[in-house]
Symmetry: C2
Subunit: 269 residues, 2 copies
């Protein structure tokens, strides 16, 4: 993507994935900003374009994530970040259910509006990481198998993500495990759900044809955005693997080396 595609001059809003695009997570500390990304976000926000951050991050609360990104140097505020937890809470409330949370312990505060001492009749699954124990998986399974119409709400369905130690299993596999064992189909909130992308666009009042999503996950970022009518640009950072470029069922509207290069193209620098 050396040349600037024609559609770049017709963009009013930009959706950015966070992990693998802004920074690489993993290890003890806050993670490491990806070369040029802090400056790229600053340039985007100084431009006439609108910007929102669309993440499937569920290992912590939304507030914790924003605080971490600010510490790393990114100019970002809570109301610019779209993540699956609020969407999951909406589904639970609409159905008047009581959730069993198979989520990361640090993400539990995002569900503080629910009384978790009541007997659960639905399951919310997120990127629980080390909380994906056999015991916790069985508790979720037993809630589902005891219901006539099991409700499994999955915060994303990613295959894997990248940490310092290599590729790590994301929530998607554990979601399919529960689907298989309990004989049910999960309701996915977050990317690649169309409602998730459209909610972020509505918030910045940008129509789909004037929006672009920049992400490292070819299926959930790029494929999900394109199915919603949004352009999708794949970065070669984060979980990107060369096979994504040669063998994927999704064809992005562009490949770039990193966020900085994407912003160069979109802003026409």
């Amino acid at each position: 993507m050396a040349d600037r595609p024609a559609w770049c001059s017709d963009i009013d809003g930009v959706l950015l994935d966070i992990s693998g695009v802004l920074y690489d997570s993993g290890g003890e500390g806050d993670g490491t900003p990806i070369q040029g990304s802090i400056d790229a976000v600053k340039r985007l926000k100084a431009s006439p374009l609108k910007v929102r951050f669309c993440t499937n991050e569920t290992q912590c609360t939304r507030q914790y994530l924003v605080d971490k990104l600010v510490r790393l140097g990114f100019p970002i505020s809570l109301d610019e970040v779209f993540s699956p937890a609020p969407a999951a809470c909406q589904v639970i409330k609409r159905k008047s259910l009581h959730p069993y949370l198979l989520v990361h312990p640090d993400a539990v505060p995002d569900f503080s509006e629910f009384d978790l001492t009541l007997p659960p009749d639905c399951v919310v699954i997120g990127d629980a990481a080390n909380a994906f124990t056999y015991d916790n998986m069985n508790k979720a399974f037993q809630v589902l198998i005891s219901q006539e119409n099991p409700v499994l709400i999955s915060m994303g369905k990613g295959r894997y993500y990248k940490e310092k130690d290599g590729l790590m299993m994301d929530v998607g596999g554990f979601m399919t495990a529960l689907e298989f064992a309990a004989g049910c189909k999960a309701e996915v909130v977050g990317k690649p759900d169309q409602g998730f992308f459209l909610g972020a666009l509505q918030d910045m009042q940008v129509p789909v044809e004037k929006a672009v999503m920049i992400g490292d996950d070819i299926l959930n970022d790029i494929g999900g955005a394109q199915r919603s009518g949004i352009k999708g640009v794949q970065v070669r950072t984060g979980k990107f693997r060369p096979e994504d470029e040669s063998q994927s069922v999704v064809t992005p509207d562009g490949f770039v080396n990193n966020l900085a290069q994407a912003v160069d193209l979109i802003l026409g620098n």
Copy 2:
């Protein structure tokens, strides 16, 4: 199944599932024989019919399982028991691979012929129970994702089984989790694989049309047997749930309350 079906008089060989048919596992001790099952096995073995035991049990070695059943009072010997571990070993040897074992610690000795210190290039998954940690799942995932053609050998693909504390997730869900994350398809050894049933029939020299499988798992015992041309009788013990009788995609050749009733019908008592 009050009346004796006509096919019962034409049976030369009987395949028996173990857990949920002979005994209920779970808890601290060896488990509990199901009412009438010890006597039923004795009557079958005293008849002209041939008997083999076909189990997907992979929480312990085959020898340990046989010793436990003998302690419970069942007349059973090692060479009568067919379980997935020997079949998994055959696949690994045929492909000249080195396995990563995502199995129950008590089942590891069944794989003593392999040098487990070598870098693994395939994964064997069994009913690992508490060994299904996020860390172990990731180790298996990382072996698979690093291979151009990932080899995942699954010892069974059961959805769940019954223990004292209720229904527990079986290997099938965790198999699908790895399939989803690594983008591969597992090779299943054990039930419902046709080769597994046919191997047991060959061992007792009985043709498929003169054989019956008695089990509590409608998909893996009954469905698997029927797809191999073997009759399938569903017991209402073990993991059986009323939905299996009214809503299943599989229609058994008969339903019985327990193994004792099945043996009554087959022997024509």
